[in-house]
Subunit: 164 residues, 2 copies
Amino acid sequence: MTPKLHPRTGLDLRTLLDVAYEQARIGLDEGGIPIGAALFAADGTLLGAGHNRRIQDDDPSAHGETDAFRAAGRQRDYSSTIMVTTLSPCWYCSGLIRQFGIGTVVIGENRTFYGGEDWLHENGIEVIVLDDQRCVEMMSDYITTHPQVWNEDIGVADDADSAE
Amino acid sequence: MTPKLHPRTGLDLRTLLDVAYEQARIGLDEGGIPIGAALFAADGTLLGAGHNRRIQDDDPSAHGETDAFRAAGRQRDYSSTIMVTTLSPCWYCSGLIRQFGIGTVVIGENRTFYGGEDWLHENGIEVIVLDDQRCVEMMSDYITTHPQVWNEDIGVADDADSAE
């Protein structure tokens, strides 16, 4: 696949996405929701990577982006960093990106879920959508086979969800 | 102090705030940033309580509200729950509240920091500000004595912050 270079840093965004995708696959192998993310410095250094841990850790606060942010530890300035995520960031993760002034968010796909990316763009954050087919298929498959867990993860209360 | 009853549930909101305030004091005693929160069910059952853990756990993802949300574990429906926090929720925590459809947010004070509460109100979440003097004083004192840590916690990069 041809590289897609990031104008600000010259980094190949597809290579960065590979790290987030690998995290999502790890999550899937653990029995979890396959959403992964990674936070990079402007020079391409990986600061932290993570994935959704709702199922495997019983932790509803661990979305891909928040897990990667956590793994990166304390940072003094996020303005030049790049958050790469396999899926469009929900409001929770969009709020994280906005509050900490993360400069760029790179989104694997926004077909299966559309989060707060327009709001981020309006608030000065660079948003790049790669429309990656691997990410679309991974998430489509998961949502189809695990609709209740998926709804729980995005806070959609499902009245029909009487079964565990 | 006279009770302040919540119209929807009849719960005394000052009593609920005491739980969040106690969490903030625990955080302060641990050497951390004094922001606490607690998530309650509509019948007043405490689902989870927590506090900011940036300093003590080196965890930038643990804000008061996210820590309380995490402590509450997986829930299927947040619409009737009440998030009580000592301080106006930042965008990160406001995003959490919106994404998971938490019905009500009760804010100890919004004088020392003003977060996403108007956005939450516009998006259908009940917002109640108690303007609690204990909370104002606790946070004012902390911001005055620890301006760099505070700026780090809200993602404000401080060029003058060369000292650790």
